[in-house]
Amino acid sequence: MKKINILHLYYDLANLSGDSGNIKAITRILDEQKVPYNLDKLSLDDDIKFSKYDLVYLGHMNYEVQELIRKDLLKYKKDLLDAIENGLYFISTGNSYELFGKSINGKKALNLFGFESKKVTNIVSDEELQNLERLVSEAICYMKDLDYPIIGFYNHGNEHTNKDNILFNVKKGFASASLMTTEGVHKYHFYGTYLLGPLLVRNPYLLDKIMKDLLTDRNIPFKAKDSLDKIAYKEYLRNFKIDIK
């Protein structure tokens, strides 16, 4: 059976919100499906060959780190975009997916998508959340082709008004900008969302869908299994009175 090659990209920098949970969730699925895999962790100063991977994960980061990574990733622009076009699965959470837009606060980004991220302008005033220059909220989203709602958390200091290649319709939460009702991007097998942290742990049906697609594309059978993650997910929906689609 083909070995699945996974890359946790900038593992030591883009890991601000429990991102390691996503890697554990991905490898749990591969273990359950008895699919062999290799997990690499690469960062600044490493030589990265994106074409050798089946799945890349990039997590949330602070804006100082984002600037370091932006510069570093531009070195790989052609290799990375070619790999995505040729079937690389790429999961990008939190503000990391801003790197795949056209620009971030006027600085050139990878331009896989046409949106331009800029500092949040519609500042939300909240006495307790004194962190005013950010969009912070819990989130409930819906995704085409998935019967289960996506739950998670937004906490980002940039925003954009992208209307193309939309990933989620946002029922609760700030979305890609405070007045938007959509969020995230999905093109080829690239999934980008401002939802941060252990997205794939908290949304086991989304994880099943992505992993099923990835394995099926590689002629590896996938059979969804029950898990504690799914029980916890349903308990959360029940607790917070969230409807399944």
């Binding site: 946790h8 593992y11 030591d12 920098l13 890991n15 601000l16 919100s17 429990g18 991102d19 390691s20 949970g21 554990k24 969730a25 749990r28 962790k41 600044l44 100063d45 602070n62 804006y63 100082e64 370091l68 909240d126 307790e128 959340l129 004194q130 962190n131 950010r134 912070v136 909220s137 819990e138 958390f153 906490n155 200091g157 941060l196 942290g197 252990p198 742990v201 908290r202 504690l228 993650d229 029980i231 916890a232 308990e235 959360y236 607790n239």
Partner: protein, 449 residues
């Protein structure tokens, strides 16, 4: 006008104290709120004592403040400090005005000592009143409110005036960065190698492990926990050493450590107590208290700082540990503390809310905690309780805790005592957020075996 506002603050405090008895609610913010509305600049019109000391950071500021207050008071200083832990602007305004003479406008003490919220202390002082600022650490904490550590760092930096002497935990790379980015004078404290230190990072979720000057990855001699340890940059002089105040030879079992060759007692068996003691020692020594006078207090007036949360049911010792969610490193130190205790152990983990301040429940921080440290032979069972008990159980599973050790308890008030007392072994460590301390304590202490 200033005189009237000070008097008004005292009158409102008096009334609130009466209401507090009836309503059982803390109203320490209201007098300060009203005073600030009358005069937003009121705190800048007072005459301050020689020493105005601030203590800030993501964790440890409360215990550090308490120790400083204890050392100073026992050495004859009159100290005004926020002993109830209210560290937001209006509560501090209430405190300061209540200790101010309305006519001379002098704050009536030798030392004004304030535990300061790291994200809002710039609202308290905007002139040159503060003389010393201790920064205990800057790690991921209440990210929904504070944003990332670098944002907190910047907020504190922007609030500094040049006259403030900084007292810095040099084991934290982000805290040490103030030595590069500001012109303030500073004193560095840090802890040398400890027996449970790591030579490689325990996991990947480390903040600020790149040199802020060169952007090169920092090298570490050792890690105490998270990114806290002894580090250096190969390209420049940025690094923990040299230290002005060195903590070493820590013995958490017998509860003592050495600070600059002086042995002092620790009032709790957790590693963070060593940092609080070291920071307090450093500060008091800097403002003129001798080593001997500090040691007299620390070594002769000893009481466990968590004793009120320890009790026994039959042969089982139970320790309640208030553990704030949203601060993974702080949470993990609680786990380290449990691991340091001898014998078989049972652990209870839970929270009903992530925050007391806001109704947002970001669960990301849980995945920054190395719960696999609980995967030890002497941990008998781990009970998951509260509204997020299933999420906790999932997180434990992802941290390789065996299924047979993890028990999800749906109705903890009714079921937990029977489960814990009849189906687990050893001393019981209850790791819960403040919202669950009282109900869990009640459930576990009122049981009839």
């Amino acid at each position: 006008m200033t005189t009237l506002v000070i008097i008004l603050n005292k009158i409102v405090t008096f009334l609130i104290n009466i209401l507090k008895i009836i309503l059982h609610k803390d109203g320490s913010v209201w007098p300060g709120y009203i005073a600030s509305k009358c005069d937003p600049d009121i705190l800048n019109k007072l005459v301050y004592p020689k020493f105005v000391i601030g203590v800030t950071g993501s964790s440890g500021k409360g215990s550090t403040t308490k120790l400083i207050a204890k050392i100073l008071t026992k050495n004859g200083y009159k100290v005004v400090w926020n002993k109830n832990g209210s560290n937001i602007t209006n509560a501090l305004t209430t405190l300061i005005l209540n200790h101010t003479n309305p006519f001379t406008k002098k704050v009536k003490c030798d030392v004004l000592l304030l535990e300061l919220d790291e994200s809002s202390f710039y609202k308290v002082f905007n002139k040159n009143q503060m003389t010393h600022l201790i920064v205990t650490n800057l790690t991921r904490d209440q990210v929904a409110r504070n944003g990332e550590p670098i944002l907190v760092y910047n907020r504190v930096k922007d609030s500094l005036s040049d006259n403030i002497h900084l007292i810095l935990n040099a084991d934290d790379p982000l805290v040490l960065r103030y030595t590069i980015d500001t012109n303030n004078t500073y004193t560095k404290y840090g802890i040398q190698r400890y027996e449970t230190d790591y030579t490689k990072p325990y996991n990947d979720t480390l903040d600020s492990t790149y040199c802020p000057r060169c952007n090169k990855k920092l090298k570490y001699h050792f890690y105490h926990y998270g990114n806290i340890g002894s580090f250096y940059c190969k390209e420049c002089e940025f690094g923990t050493n040299p230290l002005d105040y060195k903590g070493k030879d820590i013995n958490l079992t017998n509860r003592f450590m050495t600070i600059n060759d002086h042995i002092v007692k620790l009032d709790h068996g957790a590693f963070f107590t060593a940092y609080a003691t070291l920071a307090a020692y450093t500060t008091c020594n800097l403002i003129g208290i001798s080593d001997e006078d500090i040691m007299k207090v620390l070594n002769n007036d000893y009481k466990d700082s968590n004793s009120e949360n320890m009790f026994r049911v039959g042969r089982r010792k139970i320790e309640m540990i208030d553990s704030k969610p949203e601060n993974a490193l702080s949470y993990e130190q609680t786990i380290d503390y449990i691991n340091e205790q001898k014998g078989t152990k049972t652990v209870v983990i839970g929270f009903d809310n992530v925050s007391r301040r806001y109704a947002l429940n970001d669960l990301s921080w849980m995945y920054d905690i190395d719960f696999n440290k609980l995967n030890k032979k002497d941990i008998d069972k781990i009970y998951c309780i509260g509204r997020f008990r299933y999420d906790i159980a999932v997180c434990l599973k992802y941290n390789n805790i065996p299924d047979n050790k993890v028990v999800i308890v749906d109705d903890y008030k009714r079921v937990l005592p029977n489960k814990v007392y009849n189906h687990s072994k050893g001393n019981i460590y209850v790791v819960v957020f403040l919202d669950m301390m009282a109900p869990v304590k009640k459930a576990l202490s009122e049981v009839r075996r």
